[in-house]
């Protein structure tokens, strides 16, 4: 089964991960701009990071036949330094017009401070201006309250609900999101947050409409194969194939296609891998026997 991991931070992952993901059937990914484990102190770091998402990371993915898209934003964890946030916000319009960018994100709340809210709102407005969907991160701490506040902001701004994906849901927040027109993301983690079995139970209870799952793998203990592993668990628990495919392919594809930068027909076919050229000591493939497809 062809799968889509709509939230994974490949910048912090290895080519071994890319190879394993491709092998497991993952054909397309979205890498949201987030933080890197430690706050950055310069806007220039964000520029280099965004350039990396749109250049180097996209190329790394292509070497394994995986289509790489990204979202661009100032994340809430780094939204509290006013000097830095102004500069980052100023550079965003340049990036929001690029073809690999399928949403504004991750935006949302972390500590639920006033400055987070201000930047959340400003970036929602930018998404409206550039006709892009938004990927909304919900906080780890005080999650339910953060989810309610996020939904309230979507509604009060008149943001089109079908273009908002509210992520990292749990048993308690999912029904709140499904009561709106927003999409509901779930991050499947090793041993914590949401796991495969709990996810499968939620699908049994709520169905597949507007339900999305992801691995959110990054620099922490996480697993880039959580989407395929959850597929296995859903099968084991008797969820129909059509629902599984909706959740791990059609839903994320349809959601991000709203950006105009993800073509549903294009992503149905895997891009050709051409690794013949990669013999350089500095390329991802350092002289390994190349895979060539015609």
């Amino acid at each position: 089964m062809k799968m889509f991991d709509p939230h994974i931070h490949m910048t912090s992952r290895t080519t071994d991960d890319y190879a394993a993901m491709a092998e497991a059937g993952i054909a397309a990914i979205v890498e949201p701009a987030f933080w890197l484990g430690q706050p950055r102190t310069h806007a220039g770091s964000f520029e280099d990071y965004f350039n990396g998402l749109l250049g180097w990371e996209r190329f790394r993915a292509s070497q394994f036949g995986i289509r790489h898209f990204c979202t661009i934003a100032l994340n809430p964890k780094e939204a509290n330094d006013p000097r830095l946030s102004e500069e980052v916000i100023d550079m965003m319009p340049r990036y929001l017009q690029k073809e690999g960018v399928v949403a504004v994100g991750e935006i949302g709340y972390d500590d639920q401070t006033d400055s987070e809210e201000k930047l959340f709102e400003r970036q929602m407005a930018m998404a409206m201006e550039y006709g892009l969907p938004v990927l909304i991160h919900t906080p780890h701490r005080d999650k339910k309250q953060g989810t309610v506040r996020s939904i309230d902001l979507v509604k009060s701004m008149g943001f089109p609900e079908e273009r908002a994906l509210i992520d990292h849901n749990t048993e308690e927040t999912l029904p709140l999101v499904l009561d709106t027109g927003c999409w509901a993301g779930h991050s499947i983690y090793p041993n914590t947050k949401m796991d495969e079995e709990r996810m499968a139970r939620l699908v049994k209870q709520y169905g597949s409409e507007r339900i999305i799952i992801n691995s959110a793998a990054d620099w922490g203990i996480s697993d880039p194969l959580k989407v395929p592993k959850t597929v296995d668990k859903m099968r084991e628990m008797g969820i129909p194939e059509v629902d599984i495919e909706t959740i791990v392919w059609s839903n994320p594809a349809t959601f991000f296609a709203q950006s105009g930068n993800l073509n549903l027909e294009d992503i149905e076919t895997r891009p050709n891998i051409n690794q013949t050229e990669l013999f350089d000591g500095n390329s991802v493939l350092r002289g390994q026997t190349p895979i060539v497809e015609s």
Binding site: G37, Q38, P39, T41, K77, N80, D81, D110, D111, Q112, T113, H140, R141, D142, K143, K144, Q145, T170, E171, E172, M194, R198, G220
Partner: protein
């Protein structure tokens, strides 16, 4: 405090280290070359070592007259030297220049430097001006850095607004950090914190996961309705740690609603530590 730190270091450091320290302190005389100062701030770990100060009884007593809540005994020699350097700079530089340089010490610090900086915040003059950096430090994933601001540090108690203080408590719970390590927690209990903690317990229970046993200390005081029923349930939990902290938390409850539940439990309780907590809570209610 400056004098005290200087004396503590003089009583411990060797000749080379002290010579280095005096050179570093001399570099605080204006005009201050910022990069040089940043170099000294970094160099402290290598030059002064990281051994804990381990105060004598007499030193401890003197420290307590200066600031009863500062855990100087656990500070490393390097950390004391860094705090001394900043305190000296604060006297030498105009406030704005000092604040700017002090912030750079934090921003450019490795983990140990950031820990030292956070531990040394309280004694700085007008320390509230560094609130933004201290709050930012709470976002770190580097647990020792988080502990440096959250644990055994009076700064959050004295300076953090309620929302930031509550986030600090919640993050401590997430990270399995014992709430006992947060200075002055009982003075900062509040209704929002009870509500947030209660939501967290609901989320954990819905996910079929365990709950930190000391959460009741911050959850119980301002809870009502179903949340209070849940605390009463944990008051009879098979894990005595739950019973202990539930009793302690209920002792801070704003009204007497829990008196019956505490009495009923006290009649059954066999664990001496829990029994004492139950009795203590009942006594608080009068």
């Amino acid at each position: 405090m400056k004098q005290h730190l200087h004396d503590l270091l003089r009583a411990r450091a060797g000749g080379d280290a002290l010579a280095w320290l005096e050179k570093a302190l001399a570099a605080t005389t204006p005009p201050v070359h910022h990069n040089t100062l940043l170099g000294y701030y970094s160099g402290a770990s290598r030059r002064m070592g990281k051994r804990a100060l381990n105060l004598s009884q007499q030193e401890q007593a003197r420290g307590e007259t200066l600031d009863a809540e500062l855990a100087l005994s656990h500070w490393g020699a390097d950390e004391a030297a860094r705090a001394l350097l900043l305190l000296t700079l604060a006297e030498q530089l105009p406030p704005e220049e000092f604040a700017e340089l002090a912030r750079r010490c934090y921003e450019l610090g490795d983990s140990r430097e950031q820990e030292s900086w956070l531990r040394g915040l309280g004694p700085l003059p007008d320390c509230a001006r560094f609130l933004a950096s201290a709050v930012d430090a709470c976002r770190t994933n580097i647990i020792p850095v988080f502990e440096a601001i959250a644990c055994e540090n009076p700064y959050p108690l004295r300076v953090f607004p309620e929302a930031n203080f509550n986030q600090l408590i919640l993050k401590s719970l997430f990270n399995g950090i014992a709430l006992e390590r947060i200075v002055g927690l009982e003075a900062r209990l509040n209704a929002s914190l009870s509500r947030m903690s209660d939501d967290y317990v609901s989320e954990r229970e819905a996910a079929g996961r365990t709950v930190p046993t000391d959460i009741w200390l911050v959850l119980a005081p301002h809870i009502a309705g179903e949340g209070l029923v849940r605390v009463h349930r944990y008051l009879s939990h098979e894990d005595p740690a739950h019973r202990y902290w539930a009793a302690l938390g209920l002792g801070h409850h704003a009204n007497g609603e829990s008196r019956e539940a505490l009495r009923a439990r006290a009649a059954l309780e066999r664990e001496p530590r829990v029994k004492a907590a139950l009795d203590g809570a009942l006594a608080r209610m009068g």
